[in-house]
């Protein structure tokens, strides 16, 4: 079962875990990303705001989840991404993958979070010390995502 949600609502871990565990899985791997306070000279992050490309974002995430489900024979693949304003400590992204055994579940989970960072149209804007700035993309993320294409 593929489940993709892009929403401003908080992520309910218990509900998402329970959904992933149905369907005959023997192993469920999950990843949760939290908003970091990221201290710098100009202060810590007060608010992180996520902008996205409605429609294209969901399509990109569904494509990745489909690819993971096929490549690792998953019984469930879940990708939940929050958009809008968030504060440090809040959940921004959640990935769950369910398979017969742990190897497939763990690999598929890593694949989804690595590729999501480069293949889905989201943009982060952080506010610290009263000033906002768009977060720059990291080349290291491209390199990590590229490993899964070989």
């Amino acid at each position: 079962m593929i489940r993709v949600v892009v929403s401003a609502e908080p992520i309910d871990l218990a509900d998402e875990m329970a959904r992933a565990e149905t369907g005959g899985a023997g192993a469920v791997a999950t990843f949760t990303g939290l908003v970091r306070a990221d201290a710098h000279d100009d202060g810590t992050v007060a608010v992180l705001e996520l902008e996205h490309y409605p429609g294209a974002t969901e399509r990109a995430l569904e494509r990745l989840a489909d690819e993971a489900a096929e490549r690792w024979s998953l019984s469930a693949a879940t990708v939940i991404h929050r958009v809008g304003p968030m504060r440090p400590g809040e959940r921004i992204v959640f990935v769950a993958t369910a398979a017969l055994h742990r190897g497939a579940a763990l690999e598929a989970c890593a694949f989804l979070i690595d590729r999501l960072k480069t293949d889905a149209p989201f943009w982060k804007r952080e506010t610290r010390g009263g000033a906002g700035r768009w977060v720059e993309a990291r080349e290291a993320d491209d390199a990590v995502a590229a490993r899964w294409r070989s």
């Binding site: 990303g33 996520l50 902008e51 996205h52 490309y53 429609g55 294209a56 399509r59 990109a60 991404h81 921004i92 992204v93 979070i113 999501l116 960072k117 480069t118 293949d119 889905a120 149209p121 989201f122 943009w123 982060k124 804007r125 768009w134 977060v135 720059e136 993309a137 993320d141």
Partner: protein, 83 residues
């Protein structure tokens, strides 16, 4: 053709979306960007550095030399930073 802008590209242009009718001869994303850059100072500022721009045609990521012939929707934006 509908053109969408996101993040700082949207802020520099001043709108998130506009409908444009590029002249014949504008056949790729890069050529569309060249043409859009002449529309206002905001457009020119947004599109000054091509290395910082990415694009999607009809909601699929493409390189800037991709065709826009028959495209309904082109989006121009900075490298993505989700996750």
């Amino acid at each position: 053709m509908k053109v969408l802008y996101f993040a700082w590209v949207r802020e520099a242009v001043g709108v998130g979306e506009e409908t444009v009718e590029p002249p014949a001869g504008v056949a790729t994303v890069a050529q569309l960007i060249d043409w859009l850059a002449t529309m206002s100072d905001g457009h020119a500022a947004a599109f000054a550095d091509r290395t910082r721009l990415r694009a999607a045609v009809d909601q699929a990521f493409v390189p800037l030399d991709a065709s826009i012939v028959d495209a309904r929707e082109v989006a121009i934006f900075p490298p993505v930073t989700g996750g």
